[in-house]
């Protein structure tokens, strides 16, 4: 069995074998890890459980963060959707926004999360998966299928570029998380393999250039709220793809472009807290207290 490192190869493989992306990838992972497909899925179930727990933990913590920059953000959002009088978001989107922020807050306080693909972007995947499952009743197996689909997207991108803010900026973290989540949603909603890849591509393409400028070197501002924004961004991409909208630039070329933008990005804007929001007047007054 040959490793798959491009989206083009992935789609060719799904066409020739007449399989879903998750089927191709669970076979590949099973081969690579020398474990059974059942074991691979079990590993994903474990991740899914940690994701669900991180949503619960994130929502059950009160009080401000040690730095004073955030705290109880998810609760605030949750309260809005408990009384959805004139909200622009339906309950599904309300949940996604709430959960993404909750998990990211949990990460900020050194709680237990699933890096997906990274910890800075850990709110995006769980929020989308769990909110869709709750609202539409997707069972565990269907969620695992979506998670493996997201994993396939993340792994293909990770084989082309390094997923660290210090190397590629936030586009390599929250951007990739958003691409993974967009693909996962299309899998859940029964879209085609091509639509899954286009959803991921659209999400990635439209977040290109996003810098990593964390205030006081903490994974807090702008990271926590950004997870909420990019979770919704993923849904936007999935909706377009499910409607049949395709990325004009093919997926593998978009990944190359994102990688290039990461290289061109100034190191001041790559997780060094030496540019952007990190050097604003207000940011300079913040004392890092992780």
């Amino acid at each position: 069995m040959k490793n798959i490192v491009t989206f083009q190869r992935l789609l060719e493989e799904t066409r020739s074998s007449n399989k879903r992306i998750y089927e191709v990838f669970q076979e590949l992972e099973s081969y690579m890890l020398e474990r059974s497909i059942e074991d691979v899925r079990q590993l994903m179930k474990r991740n899914l459980n940690v994701m669900a727990a991180s949503v619960r933990d994130g929502l059950s913590h009160y009080g401000p963060s040690p730095s004073g920059m955030s705290g109880e953000l998810a609760q605030k959002i949750l309260r809005r959707y408990q009384n959805p009088n004139k909200s622009a978001f339906n309950p599904l989107l309300g949940k996604i926004l709430t959960y993404a922020v909750a998990v990211s807050e949990e990460n900020q306080r050194m709680g237990r999360v699933v890096a997906c693909p990274t910890a800075g972007a850990c709110g995006i995947m769980p929020s989308v998966l769990i909110a869709y499952a709750e609202e539409y009743g997707f069972n565990e197996e269907e969620q695992v299928n979506a998670l493996i689909t997201a994993g396939a997207i993340g792994k293909i991108i990770a084989q082309q570029m390094e997923l660290a803010g210090a190397v590629g900026g936030c586009q390599a973290e929250c951007g990739v998380a958003s691409a993974m989540a967009a693909g996962a949603v299309v899998e859940l909603m029964g879209g085609t393999n091509e639509q899954i890849v286009h959803a991921a591509t659209l999400a990635l393409k439209n977040i290109m250039g996003l810098v990593c400028d964390p205030v006081a070197g903490l994974v807090e501002v702008p990271c926590i709220k950004r997870n909420g924004f990019l979770a919704i961004h993923a849904v936007t991409a999935s909706e377009m793809a499910l409607a049949g909208v395709e990325s004009f630039i093919p997926p593998d070329e978009v990944v190359k472009a994102v990688k290039q933008v990461g290289v061109l990005m100034s190191p001041l804007l790559k997780e060094n807290s030496e540019g952007g929001l990190a050097i604003t007047e207000t940011a300079k007054k913040v004392v890092p207290q992780p």
Binding site: M110, G111, V113, A115, A119, G165, A166, G168, P214
Partner: protein, 212 residues
């Protein structure tokens, strides 16, 4: 994993844990040299706690990471951190220097964190390595001479284990050399002992792949 950063916390923990396994015993004193992004945002990202926690043997899911400094003191491990900026080093990189209580350097290991918790150990005592924890790995330091690699590979073959990659480097002829072998499955303790008994072996470490 425990937050807040996969590259700066989880990656740091795994580099520390890897370094501990290569060093092969409980450390007495450790100096961490953090470079570039590790140095600049490491404090907020818990990189220092992560590196130290890894060296103490904690894994990425261990909630003791938050209190690594406390556990180091409790275990009597002295530690120090230096923060440096160097253009010739990777953005997220660190040197871990193990010392005895008299400040003699026992071993120096360099690593980098490439994102999502993935790491690479790129130097052991000045030798270049490419250890990523995705395969079980055998690391050996020995006196450069004829037939060593063939003897080692014979023992590995005898156990019916496949060699995935092999990397060898020496300082100069007949001096210290390092051999890193990534394997498709884990060697038995007996085979590792056989390798350890080969002539002029200074160090043998058999390290399983990193946990997911």
């Amino acid at each position: 994993m425990i937050g807040p950063s996969s590259s700066h916390t989880a990656g740091a923990i795994r580099i520390g844990l890897f370094a501990r396994k290569i060093f092969g015993k409980n450390p007495e004193k450790v100096l961490f040299r953090l470079y570039n992004s590790f140095a600049k945002t490491g404090l907020g990202h818990g990189t220092d706690k992560g590196l130290l926690g890894g060296v103490l043997g904690f894994n990425v899911d261990d909630s003791r990471i938050k209190n690594s400094f406390y556990y180091a003191r409790e275990q009597g491990v002295a530690y120090n951190f230096e923060y440096l900026a160097r253009d010739d080093r990777y953005p997220n990189s660190v040197d871990i220097i193990f010392m005895d209580t008299n400040n003699n350097v026992l071993m120096e290991i360099s690593g980098k964190s490439v994102g999502g918790g993935e790491v690479q150990i790129d130097k052991v005592d000045g030798f270049n390595t490419d250890i990523r924890g995705d395969y079980p790995v055998l690391i050996m330091v020995y006196k450069d001479q004829k037939g060593v690699i063939s003897n080692i590979s014979k023992l590995i073959q005898d156990q019916n284990v496949n060699i995935a990659t092999i990397n060898c480097e020496r300082k100069e002829k007949n001096q210290e050399a390092v051999l890193t072998i990534c394997l498709d499955s884990v060697l038995s303790i007996e085979t590792v002992e056989e390798i350890r008994k080969l002539p002029d072996m200074y160090m043998v470490r058999n390290i399983d792949k990193l946990e997911e």
